[in-house]
């Protein structure tokens, strides 16, 4: 394993149920606010409506793109402004886009398919919209970028993987600047899928708690601006991407490895890349979906690999935003590292008997120059990002 050069993070953007911008989201987290509720945009026929974390923005008048792409555009716009880049100033650069998603790449329009099954001639508009809405491509098109363009579809680790992969693009000189993260919209089809798997809760999500009943789905986007050192020059960085580890459980399609084999390996690799040990880690933004299996395995691995390192799950505030989660959580991780504190892991009250690591229950001051954001996914994917403090 080599020690890759750290890559500067110069801008952050985030939109989710907790806030339409990163500052709004952070303020809600530190106020301890959350408001999961049944979706306003679609209905399901379950006896109890499942609460979700929905973004209030409706993007009225933008029928040309899927909501996922519009969420990505919102977060990317914020991140670029934060880094001080205008559309014009980006024009001479080689800019790459690497975004994770699940819904943004799935052709699953129910109305279209129902009419097809009934032998009608459904409108092709949903198909056209799908073909125009590849998240990375629609962002590249919006800004007329001419660099590498990649939509990562690694289920729930997509956003974290996208950030790690884009870091390698910068190091290899494939582009000068990369927009990296994830975006996903709430979708009836996905909700039905998670209900069918019996891992969605009909109450507000309680990550790592003894009585946890499953996840609440959410939506949003989180985007980081990554820059080469040559481009960044003397401008300050908000943080540096210091390590990335990815490994596969190769165990089961929907269940994590009981000992967290892939997560442990991903953590070890990310720490090695960063040249760090557990003592250097200020905090961990855990995956913490609130499902029985995920939280059991994750807390077990945290207790073993990063004992006594404070951790939280921000999914208590944002819901599980699937392909966006890694992007949103990376942005929140960097912001909390700058602030030197993390909010309470909302929803957690009591550990279960076999749990050796418990999340923070109040706003907690954290010390150290490094922080971790980690994701576990369907298919046994695990992705870990290590961020180091910048100087802004």
């Amino acid at each position: 394993m080599k020690h890759p050069v750290p890559v500067a993070v110069t801008g952050l953007g985030c939109i989710c149920a907790a806030g339409k911008t990163l500052p709004e989201t952070l303020a809600a987290l530190f106020r301890g606010e959350r408001a999961p509720a049944p979706s306003r945009r679609f209905a399901t026929s379950y006896p109890t409506p499942f609460p979700v974390f929905e973004v209030t923005e409706d993007f009225a008048g933008r029928d040309d793109l899927l909501r996922t792409s519009l969420l990505a555009l919102a977060a990317a716009g914020e991140a670029l402004a934060d880094a001080g880049w205008s559309r014009e100033s980006l024009r001479p650069l080689r800019v790459g886009v690497c975004l994770g998603t699940t819904v943004g790449s799935a052709m699953n329009n129910e109305d279209f398919y129902r009419e097809y099954r009934q032998g009608q001639e459904p409108s092709l508009a949903p198909i056209r919209r799908f073909l125009h809405s590849n998240p990375a491509a629609s962002l590249a098109k919006e800004y007329s970028f001419d660099g590498p363009c990649q939509t990562v579809v690694n289920a729930c680790s997509s956003g974290s993987d996208a950030v790690g992969l884009a870091g390698a693009w910068i190091r290899a000189g494939i582009c000068d600047l990369a927009l990296a993260g994830g975006a996903d919209e709430l979708c009836r089809t996905t909700c039905n899928g998670f209900h069918a798997l019996m891992i969605a809760s009909d109450a507000p999500v309680t990550p790592f708690d003894r009585r946890r009943k499953g996840l609440n789905l959410g939506e949003g986007a989180g985007v980081l601006v990554l820059e080469s050192e040559a481009l960044r020059s003397s401008r300050p960085a908000r943080a540096f991407l210091r390590g990335y580890g990815a490994a596969c459980d190769a165990y089961h399609l929907t269940a994590p490895h009981p000992d967290g084999a892939g997560l442990k390996r991903a953590l070890r690799e990310a720490l090695t890349e960063a040249g760090a040990t557990a003592q250097n880690i200020a905090f961990v933004n855990a995956h913490g979906t609130g499902t029985v299996d995920n939280d059991r395995v994750e807390s077990r691995v945290l207790a073993e690999v990063l004992p006594n390192v404070p951790f939280l799950s921000t999914k208590g505030y944002t819901g599980h935003t699937l392909g966006a989660a890694g992007g949103i959580e990376a942005a929140l991780t960097v912001a909390c590292l700058e602030l030197g504190k993390i909010p309470a892991s909302i929803g957690f009250a009591e550990p279960d008997s076999e749990q050796r690591a418990v999340p923070v229950t109040r706003t907690t001051t954290v010390a150290g120059d490094l922080a971790i954001s980690q994701s576990l996914a369907f298919g046994g994917n695990n992705a870990v990002l290590v961020f180091g403090r910048g100087a802004r």
């Binding site: 069918a196 009943k213 089961h252 399609l253 269940a255």
Partner: protein, 84 residues
């Protein structure tokens, strides 16, 4: 066909256990692990199949776990729910 026979047919056909016939599944064979070798994804699929074929709802895995032990336990659960 009684519930147990129906269940065996459903197991083979809907979980695609092509290497087995319904007759080869005994009432007391463990569905998971050793035995039929089903897993957690089959368990949630079975919950849907029980609802679909018998109109019986298994609300969560707390309720599901004791019922989903063998064909016999599942049949008993279905009968009890139907009467209750």
């Amino acid at each position: 066909m009684d519930i147990k026979e129906q269940l065996k047919k459903i197991l083979v056909e809907e979980l695609n256990l092509e290497d087995l016939t319904p007759e080869e599944i005994t009432d007391d064979m463990a569905l998971f692990g050793e035995g039929l070798g089903l897993d957690s994804l089959d368990a949630v699929e079975l919950v849907v199949l029980v609802q679909k074929h018998f109109g019986v709802e298994i609300k969560d895995m707390e309720e599901g776990r004791p019922a989903l032990q063998t064909v016999a336990t599942l049949a008993a659960f279905i009968e009890k729910k139907r009467q209750g």
